[in-house]
């Protein structure tokens, strides 16, 4: 369970409130620069908010003694120093949260990096880096997953794998919160949607609720965000050519 309550950060976030519930995939949508990453970084204790609270299973992320067992996060890049091998990176992470060493090989297997375990992270492709980041997120087998643009840098096979992974994680009862500016990738996998624009939440609810009155989630998104604010006020697919988030 993730509870974001009246979060504010000067110039970035204005009174942002929403929840992500267990057993559901919550899509956090918005154009680039809308405040998605900023919200997630505050939630994870990386950036500071001026006001409001962000709780993971009832506590601030910093307050959990072994946080990797509570929430797993995938942010920009792999998080591994480029001189370190994938396995060495995961081993120090495991040591920091008192996780068994055997878990390192398990997660490497899970993200299909077992064969590259000794390779230095600096030599990884973008897709491999994302998978290493995901392996780190899964290390503590956490009930909550927070993923910032998880589809970025993945090939079509990887995208398909990620969608199935997100779905099955939620079906196992995990809370899954993922941000994206790619609507099409999200429509099929999300149960709930939060749309943020210029630091404010402009819509939230189930996919059906948010889409209501629009042909597709994509159309709803354009109508609700700056991407749809065209001179003619139209919120159609024509918006793509108008410098929208696509």
């Amino acid at each position: 369970m993730i509870a974001i309550d009246h979060l504010s950060r000067p110039g970035r976030l204005h009174d942002v409130s929403f929840e992500a519930r267990p057993g559901r995939v919550t899509g956090f949508l918005g154009p680039n620069g809308a405040g998605k990453t900023s919200t997630l970084r505050v939630l994870l204790g990386l950036d500071r908010a001026r006001g409001g609270t962000a709780l993971v299973n009832g506590r601030r992320y910093e307050e959990w003694p072994r946080p990797l067992t509570v929430a797993g996060a995938l942010l920009d890049g792999s998080g591994a120093h480029r001189a370190r091998s994938a396995r060495a990176h995961l081993r120090w992470l495991a040591a920091s949260n008192r996780l068994p060493r055997s878990r390192v090989d398990e997660v490497l297997e899970l993200v299909d990096l077992a064969g590259e375990a000794r390779k230095r992270a600096g030599r990884f492709s973008l897709g491999m880096s994302r998978r290493l980041g995901l392996a780190a997120a899964l290390l503590g087998d956490p009930p909550v997953l927070v993923l910032d643009e998880p589809i970025n840098g993945l090939d079509p096979g990887g995208i398909r794998w990620m969608r199935e992974f997100l779905r099955s994680s939620a079906d196992e009862g995990r809370t899954v919160l993922l941000s994206s500016h790619l609507m099409g990738e999200l429509a099929g996998v999300a149960d709930d949607v939060v749309i943020i624009d210029r630091g404010r939440v402009v819509a939230r609810g189930t996919v059906e609720e948010v889409t209501a009155g629009h042909p597709t989630l994509e159309d709803a998104f354009f109508a609700l965000t700056a991407g749809g604010h065209r001179a003619d006020g139209a919120s159609s697919r024509d918006g793509h050519a108008g410098g929208g988030p696509w």
Binding site: G45, L46, S96, F124
Partner: protein, 250 residues
């Protein structure tokens, strides 16, 4: 805390740049004993050496470059971009996700660094002083245990000082360049002592008084005073760096 220190030790010892610091620190001082042997001998013979007991110890003052490198690397490695595709991504994110309580994290880092530099300093001091005795025999008085301990303490404190400065600048290259130039090529602190005697209380100069007897500065500073002043410098800089680190976005 034990698990965090363990993780930080793994991280530090897993970096190739840290091993440059470890090897350089271990080899520089003993190598100088041998390379500089005849020059040191003639300096004593000609009465140029104020206190022959400093021979050996003065090389430790150069070998501590190794501790400096380790102090810088333990922090700068967190801020190195992890890949060309993602210029904003740094190891620091992974570190803080695993250990979000920042003061605890810094404490663990400090302990891990001090363990490594402490062991390194002890081995280097022992090797350097034994070698000095082998090379110079009775020319150089036997070192007292207190002085050896002070040299190792200086070694550890310099590592912590370097890490505090790197935490403030968040840039390893600039910090390392300034520290290396200051301690090898031109000592700005030493030059400042020609302007004001107070400069003798700058951390690198005052710290050397802990174990060296004949330092050419205008004020007399005893080893205990020197240790106290040096420790205060390091504690102060660490405190400022920690407050900022706690407040700033990662």
């Amino acid at each position: 805390m034990v698990s965090l220190v363990h993780a930080e030790l793994r991280k530090l010892l897993g970096l190739p740049t840290a091993w440059i610091g470890i090897v350089l620190g271990l080899l520089a001082a003993p190598a100088l004993v041998v390379l500089n042997a005849s020059a040191a001998r003639s300096a004593v013979a000609e009465g140029l050496t104020q206190d022959p007991s400093d021979i050996g110890f003065q090389y430790l003052g150069i070998g501590l470059l190794g501790a400096m490198i380790l102090g810088v690397v333990v922090v700068s490695s967190e801020y190195t971009p992890t890949g060309d595709d993602t210029p904003g991504a740094r190891q620091m994110s992974a570190t803080l996700l695993a250990a979000p309580r920042r003061i605890r994290l810094l404490t663990a880092k400090g302990i891990a660094l001090s363990l490594v530099t402490g062991v390194q300093g002890t081995i280097t001091a022992a090797a350097t002083l034994v070698l000095t005795e082998q090379v110079h025999g009775s020319l150089v008085p036997a070192p007292t245990p207190g002085r050896v301990a002070a040299a190792v303490l200086y070694w550890v404190l310099i590592g912590l000082l370097a890490s505090a400065i790197t935490l403030l600048t968040r840039n390893g290259i600039v910090t390392l360049a300034v520290l290396v130039v200051n301690s090898t090529v031109v000592s700005l602190s030493y030059l400042l002592t020609k302007v004001t005697p107070w400069a003798a209380y700058l951390p690198d100069i005052v710290g050397a008084h802990m174990f060296l007897r004949s330092i050419d500065v205008p004020v007399e500073i005893g080893p205990v005073t020197a240790g106290a002043v040096m420790t205060t410098w390091v504690a102060g800089l660490l405190a400022i760096a920690a407050v900022l680190f706690r407040r700033r976005d990662a």
